[in-house]
C-alpha cells in the first residue's frame, strides 16, 4: 500500500547509513524498554479491569498501538519496509481490539459509550485511527501513522487514569440528540487531528530545518518539565503527588480544590535533570542558530538532547515504579497515603507527549532526507490539509447545531454562552477564518500548515482544557 523507497546508496553514504542504523537500533531498544515498563505497570495500575467493561480489550489495543507507533517511526529510520508493513498490521489489529472494547462497553452498559470524558476519549481515539486508515488507504500516506497512532496511543494512556466506571445515564443525557452531538464532535475532532498530522508532514516535506525542529522539541520538553518542576517538585527535591483513596477511587481532598499532597523522596531529581538538559539543548541550539553559526554547537545540542531523551525515559520508568511502590508517609498527618497516576492525568500526558516528541526528533535527525523522500509532494500534502479541514468543518458545524438542538429540548435554550459552547464557537470561527483565507485569498503552504496546527491546539483545548479548567454546564464532559 505505502510506497517505500529503498536506497542502495554509494559507499560513502553506506557507512553513514550503518552508523545511523546503529543509532536507530539503540533508540528502538530504548522505546522497547519504555513500552515494556508501561505494559507491565499499566495493568497493575488499572487492577481488576475486566473483559466485560472492555478495558482488557482496550489495554491490548494500547499495546498494539504503542508497538505500531514505534514501528512506524523506526521503519523510516532503519529503512525497513517490513517494519512499515508490521506497523500497519499492528495498527489494524489494535483498531479491531479498540472496536471490540467499544462494542463490549456499549453492550454491557446498555447505552452508547458517549456519556462522559472517558467514553469520549475512547470514541475520539477510535475516530483518529479510523480516519487514519481511510487517509492511508485513499491518499497513500505511508508515514501518517507516525503521528496519528502515537496520538491515539497517548489518548488510550490518558484513559487508563480517567474515571472509567460504567454509570447509568442521568436524565438529561437520555437523548438521541446527545448521541448525535457527541458522535459528530468526536468525528470532527478526529478529522482535525488528521489535518494536524498532515500539516506536520507538510512542514517536514517543506524542509523546515532540523535545527529549528530541535529548538521546538527542546522548548516543548522544557515547557512540560518546567511546569512539572514548578508545580510538583518541592524544595527538598521530592515529587509531590495527590494522595489517592484506592477504595473510593478518587483523590483525598483537604478542602474543595485542595488535594492532600504526598511527597515522594528523591523522585524530583530526574525531572530537574531533564529540565536542565532541555534548557541546555535549547540554549546551545539557539546559540548555534543566532550567535555562533557552526556545526560545533549544534552537535553539542544534539548530544545534550539525546541525554535529555534518556533522562526522560528514566524519569518515566522511575515515576511508574515509585508510584506503584507506595504508600508514602506524610509527616504532617502522621499517616501513609498511596498515590496513583489517575490523580495526575496531566503529569502523565505531559511526560508521555514530551517523550514521543523527543523520540520523533531523534528519528528525524538521523533520517531526515529519507523521510522527505517518503512523503508525497508538497502540493498533495497541502491539498490534503485543506480537504481534511473541508470534511471536518461541516461536521463541526453540525455538532454545534445538534448540541444547540439538544440543549433546546432539555433546558429550553439553544445557546447559553457556557465555556464549552464558547470554545466550540471559537474553534468554528478559527476554521471559518481559515476557509475564507484559503478559498478567497488562496492561502497555501506553510501558512496553511501553521493554521492547521494552531487550530488543532484550539480543538484540544476545547476538548480537554475547558473540561478541566473552565467547568460549566457541560459538567459531564
Amino acid at each position: 500500500m505505502g510506497k517505500v523507497v529503498t536506497h542502495t546508496g554509494e559507499r560513502g553514504q553506506a557507512s553513514a547509513a550503518r552508523l545511523s542504523a546503529q543509532a536507530g537500533w539503540i533508540l528502538l531498544g530504548v522505546s522497547v524498554v519504555v513500552l515494556t515498563v508501561m505494559a507491565i505497570s499499566v495493568p497493575h495500575l488499572v487492577g481488576g479491569a475486566g473483559w466485560l467493561t472492555g478495558e482488557k480489550f482496550l489495554y491490548l489495543a494500547l499495546i498494539a498501538y504503542l508497538g505500531a507507533a514505534a514501528l512506524y517511526v523506526f521503519s523510516a529510520a532503519l529503512r525497513q519496509p517490513q517494519l512499515l508493513a508490521g506497523a500497519m498490521a499492528l495498527t489494524r489489529g489494535g483498531f479491531l481490539l479498540h472496536t471490540m472494547a467499544i462494542l463490549v462497553r456499549w453492550a454491557s452498559s446498555g447505552h452508547a459509550p458517549l456519556s462522559n470524558i472517558y467514553e469520549m476519549v475512547l470514541v475520539f481515539s477510535w475516530g483518529v485511527v479510523a480516519l487514519h486508515e481511510v487517509a492511508e488507504w485513499k491518499f497513500e500516506l505511508p508515514f501518517l501513522g507516525a503521528i496519528t497512532v502515537p496520538i491515539a496511543a497517548l489518548a488510550l494512556v490518558l484513559m487508563q487514569v480517567l474515571p472509567g466506571e460504567i454509570r447509568p445515564l442521568v436524565p438529561a443525557l437520555q437523548s438521541t440528540w446527545l448521541q448525535i452531538h457527541v458522535t459528530l464532535a468526536m468525528l470532527s475532532y478526529a478529522g482535525l487531528t488528521i489535518s494536524f498530522a498532515v500539516a506536520l508532514l507538510y512542514l517536514i516535506k517543506d524542509g523546515a530545518t532540523t535545527r529549528s525542529f530541535l529548538s521546538w522539541s527542546a522548548a516543548l520538553v522544557l515547557g512540560v518539565y518546567g511546569t512539572i518542576v514548578a508545580t510538583s517538585v518541592n524544595s527538598s527535591l521530592a515529587l509531590t503527588m495527590p494522595a489517592w483513596d484506592s477504595t473510593a477511587r478518587e483523590k483525598v481532598m483537604l478542602a474543595p480544590r485542595q488535594a492532600l499532597l504526598v511527597p515522594i523522596d528523591a523522585l524530583g531529581w530526574p525531572f530537574v535533570i531533564v529540565l536542565a538538559l532541555a534548557a541546555a539543548t535549547l540554549a546551545l541550539s539557539l546559540l548555534g542558530t543566532f550567535f555562533a553559526p557552526g556545526q560545533r554547537w549544534e552537535n553539542l545540542a544534539r548530544r545534550t538532547f539525546l541525554a535529555a531523551l534518556l533522562a526522560q525515559a528514566l524519569s518515566l520508568v522511575l515515576l511508574m515504579l515509585k508510584v506503584n511502590a507506595g504508600p508514602y508517609y506524610v509527616p504532617q498527618y502522621g499517616q501513609s497515603f498511596g498515590v496513583h497516576l489517575a490523580a495526575s492525568p496531566f503529569l502523565l500526558a505531559g511526560v508521555v507527549t514530551a517523550l514521543f516528541a523527543s523520540l520523533a526528533w531523534e528519528v528525524l535527525r538521523w533520517k531526515y532526507d529519507s523521510l522527505v523522500a517518503y512523503l508525497p509532494s508538497r502540493d498533495t500534502l497541502d491539498g490534503l490539509i485543506y480537504r481534511t479541514v473541508a470534511i471536518s468543518f461541516p461536521l463541526l458545524t453540525l455538532m454545534i447545531i445538534a448540541g444547540a438542538y439538544w440543549a433546546n429540548r432539555t433546558w429550553g435554550s439553544y445557546w447559553s454562552w457556557d465555556p464549552k459552547e464558547d470554545w466550540a464557537l471559537i474553534t468554528w470561527l478559527t476554521y471559518a477564518g481559515y476557509l475564507h483565507m484559503r478559498l478567497t485569498r488562496g492561502w497555501r503552504g506553510r501558512r496553511s500548515a501553521y493554521f492547521a496546527i494552531i487550530g488543532f491546539g484550539i480543538v484540544m483545548f476545547t476538548f480537554f482544557g475547558v473540561t478541566y479548567l473552565l467547568p460549566g454546564l457541560h459538567a459531564y464532559a
Partner: protein, 482 residues
C-alpha cells in the same frame, strides 16, 4: 465635500471588505475568549466575583462590561457589525455572480478556449467537423455530460456541472443572517422563566430567571397533577417527570406528562422539567403520643400537617407542628439541616393546655434514646413523615427558534455545497491545432479543486480522443446545423 464623499466611500469599501469581516470575526473570537476566562455574572454565585478579583480590577472589568460580555452593548454591536459586514460583502459581489449564474458564457471560439487554464487539442483525423462534433457529443452523453443543445447549434460543445456551487457562499452567509434574525426575535420577544409547583397546585405567572425582572403572566393556567422521580437500582436518578395540564377560562385544554428532554408546549410556550425535590416540610406527619392520665397510660395517634393544630386527649389540649428539620445536625449549638431529604428528622411540637402557655417537645426521629428537651409532660414517638415535593419547571418562549433551525439547515446545506461542489465548465469548438490540422479544441475551467479538475478534464479528453480515433463506422445521425 468631495473629499468627505471619498472618505465615506473608502470607509464603506473597507467596511464591506473581507478584511474587515475577518477582523470582526477575530474580535468576536477575542471577546468570547475573554468571556470564558473572566468569571461571568450569570454563571457566578453571589459574592464570588468580589472574592476573586481585587477592587481596582473589579472596577475596571465592570466598567468594560467584562463580567457579562455576552450581554453588553459592545458585544451585541460587534455581532451587529459582523452581520452588516456579511450583508454588505454579499450584496457587493452578488450581482456579478448572479449574472454568471443566470447567463453563463456559452458560445466559445478558438481564442476564448486558448485563454482557459486547461486545454487540449484533439485531432479530428478522418472525420468531418460535423461528424466529429456528433461523435464527441455522443461520447460525452454516454459519460454523463450532456452538451447544451442550444449552444451546440451555434457550434460550441458546452458542458457544465454544479453551477449551483457559485451561489453556495451566499447561501451560507444568508443562513448566518437568518440565524442572527432568529436570535434578535428571541431577544426582543422571547422570555425565559421558572415555575415551582406542588402537586395539586396551579399558577398563571412565571418567575424571572435572573434577579432583575418582573414576574410575567402566561395568559393561561398551568396545573401540576403529580410529579415524581424514577431511580435506577443503585439509587441514582433515572428520570424526573411531572403530569401537567393547561387550563384556559377554567377549562382544561391540554395535558401531558413531561420528562427531562420532553417538554409540554402550549401556544409556543414550552415547559421543561428542570428539577424535582422535597421542600423540606412534611405534607403529613404521623406521631404517637402517650401521657399518664389518672394513673392510666393513654395513647393516641396524631396526623399532623403544618399550620393545623390537632386535638390531644379529651381535655381540650392541642398539638401543633412548630418546627420540622429534615436532616438535623448540630453545628456548635446551632441547629441546622444538611439537606431537604428526611434523613434525620428533628421535630418540635407545641402542646397548648386550655388557658395555658404553649410548651415545646423536641423529637429526634432516628435517635429516640437521646431524650431531647421536652417539658410538655407528653411523650411522642415518630411514626412516619410524608414529605411535600416540589417540581421545578423551566419556561421558555422563543418565537425566533424556527428561524434559527431553518438557518441551521440552510447553513449545513450551503457549507456542503461550498466545500464539496466545484462549478466545472468545458467548452469545445472545431478549429485548427498548432500544426494547422483540424482539431477539436477543448478548454475547461473549475471554480475550485484544480488538481481534481485537471485529472478529470484530461481523462475526458482522452476518452474523446479514443472515441474519435476508433470511430470508423459512418455516423448516420447528422449533427444539428450550425
Amino acid at each position: 465635500m468631495v473629499n468627505r464623499q471619498s472618505s465615506v466611500d473608502r470607509f464603506l469599501r473597507f467596511f464591506s471588505s473581507l478584511k474587515c469581516g475577518l477582523l470582526l470575526l477575530s474580535l468576536v473570537g477575542v471577546a468570547v475568549i475573554l468571556g470564558t476566562l473572566i468569571l461571568q455574572k450569570p454563571m457566578a454565585q453571589e459574592g464570588q466575583i468580589e472574592q476573586i478579583y481585587a477592587p481596582q480590577t473589579l472596577r475596571l472589568l465592570n466598567a468594560l462590561g467584562l463580567f457579562d460580555v455576552f450581554h453588553t452593548r459592545w458585544f451585541i454591536l460587534l455581532l451587529g457589525l459582523l452581520g452588516a459586514n456579511i450583508t454588505l460583502t454579499s450584496i457587493e459581489r452578488f450581482p456579478q455572480v448572479w449574472r454568471l449564474f443566470v447567463r453563463p458564457h456559452l458560445v466559445a471560439d478558438a481564442a476564448f478556449i486558448r485563454a482557459l487554464p486547461f486545454q487540449r487539442e484533439i485531432a479530428l483525423g478522418s472525420h468531418a467537423p460535423q461528424e466529429a462534433m456528433a461523435l464527441a457529443c455522443g461520447k460525452l452523453r454516454s459519460l454523463g455530460y450532456a452538451p447544451r443543445p442550444a449552444v451546440l447549434r451555434q457550434g460550441t460543445v458546452y458542458i457544465e456541472k454544479h453551477r449551483v456551487a457559485r451561489l453556495a457562499p451566499y447561501v451560507v452567509h444568508a443562513s448566518l443572517l437568518i440565524i442572527f434574525a432568529g436570535a434578535i426575535v428571541d431577544g426582543a420577544h422571547g422570555y425565559r422563566g421558572f415555575i415551582s409547583l406542588r402537586p395539586g397546585m396551579r399558577t398563571d405567572t412565571v418567575e424571572p430567571l435572573t434577579t432583575p425582572g418582573a414576574p410575567r403572566r402566561l395568559g393561561f393556567t398551568i396545573r401540576c397533577d403529580a410529579a415524581g422521580m424514577d431511580r435506577y437500582p443503585d439509587g441514582s436518578p433515572q428520570q424526573y417527570w411531572s403530569r401537567l395540564a393547561v387550563e384556559e377560562n377554567g377549562r382544561e385544554v391540554a395535558r401531558k406528562q413531561i420528562f427531562v428532554n420532553d417538554p409540554l408546549t402550549y401556544k409556543g410556550v414550552r415547559f421543561f422539567q428542570a428539577n424535582y425535590g422535597p421542600t423540606g416540610t412534611p405534607r403529613k406527619l404521623v406521631m404517637e403520643a402517650s401521657w399518664p392520665e389518672n394513673g392510666v397510660e393513654k395513647r393516641q395517634m396524631l396526623t399532623l400537617a403544618p399550620g393545623t393544630p390537632v386535638q390531644l386527649g379529651a381535655q381540650g389540649d392541642t398539638v401543633e407542628l412548630a418546627d420540622f428539620i429534615p436532616d438535623f445536625v448540630l453545628e456548635g449549638n446551632q441547629i441546622s439541616s444538611r439537606s431537604d431529604e428526611p434523613r434525620n428528622p428533628a421535630i418540635r411540637l407545641q402542646v397548648t393546655r386550655p388557658g395555658g402557655e404553649p410548651r415545646s417537645a423536641w423529637i429526634l426521629a432516628k435517635l429516640p434514646e437521646t431524650h431531647p428537651p421536652n417539658d410538655t409532660g407528653v411523650s411522642f414517638r415518630f411514626v412516619n413523615a410524608e414529605m411535600e415535593y416540589l417540581t421545578g419547571l423551566q419556561v421558555a418562549y422563543q418565537p425566533g427558534q424556527w428561524l434559527i433551525w431553518a438557518g441551521c439547515l440552510l447553513l449545513t446545506g450551503g457549507l456542503m455545497m461550498a466545500l464539496y461542489l466545484s462549478h466545472i465548465r468545458i467548452w469545445g469548438v472545431v478549429g485548427t491545432d498548432r500544426k494547422g490540422q483540424p482539431a477539436l479544441l477543448l478548454g475547461g475551467q473549475p471554480s475550485k479543486y484544480r488538481e481534481n479538475f485537471e485529472r478529470k478534464f484530461h481523462a475526458l479528453a482522452d476518452e474523446l480522443d479514443t472515441a474519435l480515433k476508433n470511430a470508423t463506422v459512418k455516423v448516420t445521425e447528422a449533427a444539428p446545423a450550425a
